[in-house]
Symmetry: C2
């Protein structure tokens, strides 16, 4: 009945572990990698629990999920400064960058079309400085 009543959540070893690994890695882990990293540590954890913990932490606003052009999700520690991602199609490295213009754009759109924007996802891909130097196989159909 009382929907405002906070549910009793438990801070288990596994949840702490998942959050810890994400924070330490500083990167963009997928669930599988996270699971494997957890295994290399002593802690026993199952893949299902990794997913459940991630869902929990995401819901709590402690981690964020990203879709970096792959068919599976990547997770990173929630940050205060919004930032975006560039993925190199050749070497796979992910570069983070800030771009305040994006928020302006969101506000502009918000006002123009009267939308309430709650999520924003900007993802670029292409070739990083190093990889662009090497000869690309044919013209990498530049669509932009």
């Amino acid at each position: 009945m009382d929907t405002t009543r906070a549910r009793a959540h438990r801070l288990t070893r596994q949840r702490k572990l998942v959050l810890e690994i994400i924070k330490e890695s500083q990167g963009h882990l997928d669930a599988e990698t996270l699971y494997l990293q957890a295994k290399t540590r002593h802690a026993p954890i199952s893949l299902a629990t990794v997913y459940r913990s991630l869902a929990f932490l995401k819901d709590a606003g402690l981690v964020q999920e990203q879709r970096l052009g792959e068919d599976h999700g990547h997770f990173e520690s929630a940050q205060t400064t919004p930032h975006y991602h560039f993925t190199c199609l050749s070497c796979g490295q992910v570069i983070e960058f800030e771009a305040p213009q994006v928020l302006e754009l969101a506000r502009w759109l918000s006002a123009k079309k009267n939308l309430q924007v709650t999520e924003l996802n900007l993802h670029l891909s292409g070739y990083c400085a190093q990889c662009a130097g090497r000869s690309q196989p044919a013209a990498p159909k530049t669509r932009i």
Copy 2:
């Protein structure tokens, strides 16, 4: 040996059909919907062929794939003017919009970090004008 030699591609009924449906729909179909629409027409086609045709057409630059925050892909006819998408989390409608600033942003980033950007994906979600009017269940954790 001759990598520049064009492969002989065939324009089969199924491929024509897939392209036709995408063009007519004007929308953002996923493979399943596309498959069902094809079935309602006379044409016999399998889901596997839908995927294969989409891959083919995508490769040919005739259709583009979008990830609209869902766990599955959406496809639309390739357009000359770049545009982006907003998905309403409440009613599910997809709103397209143009935003030249985005390309400027990409160029800016390209120059600043010396990247070669070939793909750009900007996706917003939140609540549309109609849905934002109705009372939302609690504060829709606005992260932006």
